[in-house]
């Protein structure tokens, strides 16, 4: 007589025998892509202020505001999405903005929501429902609209920040992974499409999608030059970056990089785009005037994030496999000695004053502040979770660290101490209004 044990076992064994697992290499590749995707999104987020030293961080993609804004503050982006880097139009405007306080938008991709956080008080507002599996967020330079990319079914949900209400979703290419917005705020570029990479331009005035632009395999990161003329798309399953002329929304001939380009950052002067080649362990500088690649610079293992200081002098490259950050002197394109971080560093953001880079160490559960003047690591800050994305407020007072499953923890930058965390669940991306 069979008992429950045996019967269950027989049932399970049959299913087990017929299990057809993907090759482990494919599982790892998919996982890595997701990680990079998340990271790349972060980059987008920041808009650096122009040279003034706004924030260095991941501004690249979104160069959005830079030019426009004078020294403006950059929005920090943390998470997935591109951040909106909205910079404020002018310094005065910026000042005014501060009076109202800024809002950090945190994407919860498990609950399909975006949670606004008032940065002045560190309080969470009611969640805003978006599409399924939101992974990236970017905010326009004027701070009025946040765009959230939903992986399923491939759409972008605009959120009106004044009221925190979601507008109807805009259809994009499949599996959108990152967003960048032009400095004039007129166009949002949404990348995705997996190995049949696409870029969907969205006219922000009407929230309508324009015809899609074909790019390379598995786009992961996008950055727009401060003058808004060119968007660079890193095709991570290839050795190519595709420049896009924004005036005509046409793809220009691809530029050869190293293997697995996963992140891009552009200097505040717009002259050089730095591309992190995850699979090669190098960074390729691209001269934007001619779209030509310069010789690759050796970094650590699996670089997947880059941030540039507001003065444009140094690019910081996060090497997740070496547990280091490699500073690159942009004047000479030479790598300086690596700086040790905690285990599995994945996120970086630079304070608007350009004095400190914050590096999130996923496995270590810490954030390592790096003093930029000396390129030395300061004592790590415990987060109580696994840092995934970092965004810094435009006034530079607070760094928000998105923890994979444990919500968000604010860090007071003046003292580098953690404030009480906000338990808002899975946090995969952050963007802060200008």
């Amino acid at each position: 007589m069979t008992d429950l044990n045996e019967e269950l076992r027989r049932l399970a064994d049959e299913a087990a025998r017929e299990a057809r697992p993907l090759a482990v290499a494919d599982v790892i590749r998919q996982g890595d892509r997701r990680q990079r995707r998340a990271i790349t999104r972060r980059y987008l987020g920041r808009a650096p202020g122009p040279v003034t030293g706004a924030r260095p961080g991941r501004r690249w993609r979104r160069w959005v505001a830079p030019l426009a804004a004078a020294g403006a503050v950059v929005a920090v982006v943390a998470g997935t999405a591109a951040v909106s880097g909205a910079i404020r139009g002018s310094r005065t405007a910026a000042g005014a903005g501060l009076a109202h306080g800024t809002t950090a938008y945190v994407v919860n991709s498990a609950k399909d929501t975006v949670i606004p956080i008032r940065t002045a008080t560190n309080t969470a507002l009611p969640p805003i429902k978006v599409g399924i599996q939101p992974m990236a967020i970017a905010i326009t330079p004027d701070g009025k609209t946040a765009y959230v990319a939903n992986e399923v079914p491939g759409s972008v949900t605009p959120i009106r920040t004044a009221t925190n209400t979601a507008l109807p979703p805009i259809k994009t290419g499949s599996t959108p992974v990152a967003i960048a917005i032009t400095p004039d705020g007129k166009t949002a570029y949404v990348i995705g499409g997996g190995d049949s990479g696409t870029v969907t331009p969205i006219r922000t005035a009407t929230n309508t999608a324009l015809p899609r632009i074909k790019v390379g395999r598995l786009p992961m990161a996008i950055a727009i030059t401060p003058d808004g003329k060119t968007a660079y798309v890193a095709n991570s399953n290839s050795t190519m970056v595709t420049p896009i002329r924004t005036a005509t929304n046409t793809a220009l001939p691809p530029i050869k990089t190293g293997h697995g380009p996963a992140a891009i950052a552009i200097t505040p002067d717009g002259k050089t785009a730095y591309v992190a080649n995850g699979a090669s362990g190098t960074v390729t500088p691209i001269r934007t005037a001619t779209n030509t690649a310069l010789p690759p610079i050796k970094t650590g293992g699996d670089p997947l994030a880059i941030a540039i200081t507001p003065d444009g002098r140094t690019a910081y490259v996060v090497n997740q496999d070496s547990d280091t950050v490699t500073p690159i002197r942009t004047a000479t394109n030479t790598a300086l000695p690596p700086i040790k971080t905690g285990r599995l560093p994945q996120a970086i953001a630079i304070s608007p004053d350009g004095k400190t880079a914050y590096v999130g160490n996923n496995t270590a559960g810490t954030v390592t502040p790096i003093r930029i003047a000396t390129n030395t690591a300061l004592p790590p800050i415990k987060t109580g979770g696994n840092p995934f994305e970092i965004a810094i407020t435009p006034n530079g007072k607070t760094a928000y660290v998105a923890l994979v499953t444990a919500g968000v923890i604010p860090i007071r930058t003046a003292t580098n101490t953690a404030l009480p965390g906000l338990k808002i669940g899975y946090s995969s991306a952050i963007a802060i209004t200008p």
Partner: protein
């Protein structure tokens, strides 16, 4: 967990987990998909997963949540879900098995999950409580109810294994 450890963990535990998820969900394709997706996430979060034993539980919990959330998205209740699960195309040997599966499907999802963890994954009541986030007393009650619900079918369907 580094690449090598993950590779061996994946190879050794994938089939077993698909079997367990199938017994929990009653849908072979869903079980395979959910476990596959859970392993991708396991790689992403490998930094937080230390031991292999912990990793297997992590993947199982994640796969279960994935399966449940798909059901919810399909706007079916958990119980309905099971009942409405695709017919078991590869139902394999004999009508007896089919009857047992049908009986299992009628058991509420969390009871079925407890049964599988206890009888198939060899977890203790305390371990099941930890994995499913309820108190041990609740686990015991689920096990008792689940057993009571399927035992009659076991008796009726006691048939020689066909293979």
């Amino acid at each position: 967990m580094d690449r090598e450890e993950f590779t061996s963990f994946y190879a050794s535990s994938f089939p077993r987990l698909v079997g367990q998820l199938y017994a929990m969900t009653g849908d072979r394709a869903e079980a395979q998909d959910a476990v596959q997706e859970a392993f991708v996430r396991a790689w992403v979060h490998r930094g937080q997963i230390d031991t292999e034993r912990g990793a297997e539980a992590w993947v199982r919990v994640t796969a279960w949540r994935i399966a449940v959330s798909r059901w919810r998205r399909a706007q079916k209740g958990l119980r309905l879900m099971m009942l409405a699960a695709r017919p078991d195309r590869a139902a394999g040997p004999g009508p007896d098995r089919v009857a047992f599966v049908a009986a299992l499907r009628r058991v509420p999802a969390e009871q079925r999950r407890a049964l599988v963890l206890f009888h198939l994954a060899d977890l203790t009541v305390e371990q099941i409580a930890a994995e499913t986030g309820v108190r041990p007393g609740t686990v015991k009650a689920r096990l008792a109810r689940g057993r009571a619900a399927v035992t009659p079918y076991l008796r009726e369907t006691t048939a020689p294994v066909s293979e």
